[in-house]
């Protein structure tokens, strides 16, 4: 069973719909006692970094549960969009430290003429190394992005996809059981569907 974590940040309906479409067993859950049964977790997120970290830290039992799932049980966890940024150590968007499960930082986009922020729309994410998440995604795959901050890994091996927008950033990252993706697979047609299929097959 895949549990999508409902901690009050964003839009979970479409994520659930896509997992259902690919035949995965999925549920949206906010209660840490229920989340404790999860075999896979999706950490979504739309909104600001501090608001999201605040909710994770302040929801009773949630932070401890996530730490346990990620670092003791080591079940697959996928952070999506802001959820990916939360996996990093810090963000230029906020003051609070991130979960720190990835040696990475979340930075502002560099200012560059012709590149409006947020980075909103369809762009390419190129696989840069082998990962179970990028199996059969295809070379012409395009994905839907909406974000104003972007992730940069400190350990190059932990980047699995890269995207160019006013500079290159890491659009998908992985370390052991921890995965993050900047684009919205649930809004990216068959390209995103393949990506989520890969996650549900882990």
């Amino acid at each position: 069973m895949i549990h999508i974590i409902d901690y009050g940040m964003g839009n979970l309906g479409s994520m659930r719909n896509m997992f259902k479409r690919i035949g995965a067993n999925v549920t949206v859950e906010s209660n840490p006692a229920e989340l404790a049964h999860a075999r896979k977790l999706v950490l979504p997120g739309v909104g600001s970094f501090d608001a999201a970290m605040g909710r994770i830290n302040e929801s009773f039992g949630l932070r401890d549960l996530l730490e346990h799932k990620a670092n003791v049980e080591k079940i697959p966890i996928l952070g999506v969009c802001l959820g990916m940024q939360l996996l990093t150590n810090s963000s230029e968007e906020g003051e609070l430290p991130g979960l720190g499960w990835m040696a990475a930082k979340t930075l502002r986009f560099p200012k560059k003429d012709g590149f409006k922020v947020p980075h909103m729309g369809w762009n390419v994410a190129s696989p840069v190394r082998k990962s179970p998440l990028t199996l059969e995604v295809g070379k012409e795959a395009r994905y839907y992005f909406v974000h104003s901050f972007c992730v940069h890994v400190e350990i190059p091996e932990q980047s699995i996809m890269k995207t160019n927008y006013a500079g290159v950033f890491d659009s998908a990252i992985a370390r052991d059981n921890i995965y993050g993706v900047q684009f919205h697979p649930e809004k990216s047609h068959r390209f995103g569907m393949q990506f989520l299929k890969n996650f549900s097959n882990l």
Binding site: N17, G47, M120, G121, W122
Partner: protein, 249 residues
């Protein structure tokens, strides 16, 4: 560079999709769920639904229809029409839409845009600006489906909306809508010059050149298409389609 987004824009009237000309003269296009299924297969960039009766009839979003739509769609979805409160918008987001468009409501409830963009992010909030040229040749913002003149200048309203925190502007020319004769290029240019957020040009697209022109000359970030994606050709029958247009690739 990003692909320029080409956004089929579908008009909901009660439970059906229609297409209008200059905000009037309805032609039945089809059932929302079926039409959306086709757009899903065509892998369109994004879809926008506008409920053209919601504001006038003072009913909120038709959540039943929107839910059917969201269940079928694996692309970004926007909705506009009758969003008057934070709760209206939240219900639409909860279903799986990621953007809401507001216009009339924001005059009545001045904190709405601000609340929405704080909570859901500015990328989730579109200011929908419908513009008509008055008898004196001035361009004014209209609401209630083109019925009510707010006497507001579109450029000023666009700037205000940007300050309030919207992430995008949907700029519709009422005179050009449904005509296939091209966009109001000057109007689009005047607004893209005034704001730094993306402007989606809407109203009048009839061919690929129109789209190129509004992107290249008027700096539109994205284009909303109505007639072109639901009719075979001007004056011809319904055919849900998506033109193969490549800009910035």
């Amino acid at each position: 560079m990003l692909r320029t987004r080409i956004i089929p824009t579908l008009l909901l009237r009660n439970e059906s999709l229609v297409k209008t000309v200059k905000f009037g003269k309805f032609t039945y296009v089809g059932d929302p769920a079926n039409t959306v299924r086709i757009f899903n297969e065509l892998e369109v960039d994004e879809l926008l639904f506008l409920d053209i009766l919601a504001s006038r009839k003072k009913h909120g979003p038709n959540l039943k229809v929107l839910r059917e739509v969201a269940d079928e769609c694996f692309m970004p979805l926007g909705y506009g029409g009758g969003i008057k409160t934070f709760e209206d918008a939240k219900a639409v987001f909860d279903i799986g839409f990621e953007k809401v468009a507001v216009n009339f409501s924001s005059f009545e409830n001045t904190t709405l845009i601000n609340d929405l963009s704080k909570h859901f992010g500015s990328q989730a909030v579109i200011a929908s600006i419908d513009v008509r040229t008055t008898l004196f040749g001035r361009k004014k913002v209209y609401t209630l489906g083109g019925k009510k003149n707010t006497r507001k200048d579109p450029i000023i309203w666009a700037k205000e909306a940007e300050e309030m925190g919207v992430g995008e502007i949907l700029l519709t020319s009422i005179e050009n809508e449904g005509t296939w004769n091209g966009f109001d290029y000057d109007l689009v240019k005047s607004v893209t010059d005034a704001v730094s957020i993306p402007v989606v040009a809407h109203g009048g697209a009839g061919n690929t050149e129109h789209i190129h022109k509004v992107v290249t000359n008027s700096n539109a970030s994205a284009v909303a298409l109505g007639s072109m994606v639901v009719f075979q050709k001007k004056g011809m029958g319904v055919l849900v389609n998506f033109p193969n247009i490549k800009i910035n690739e």
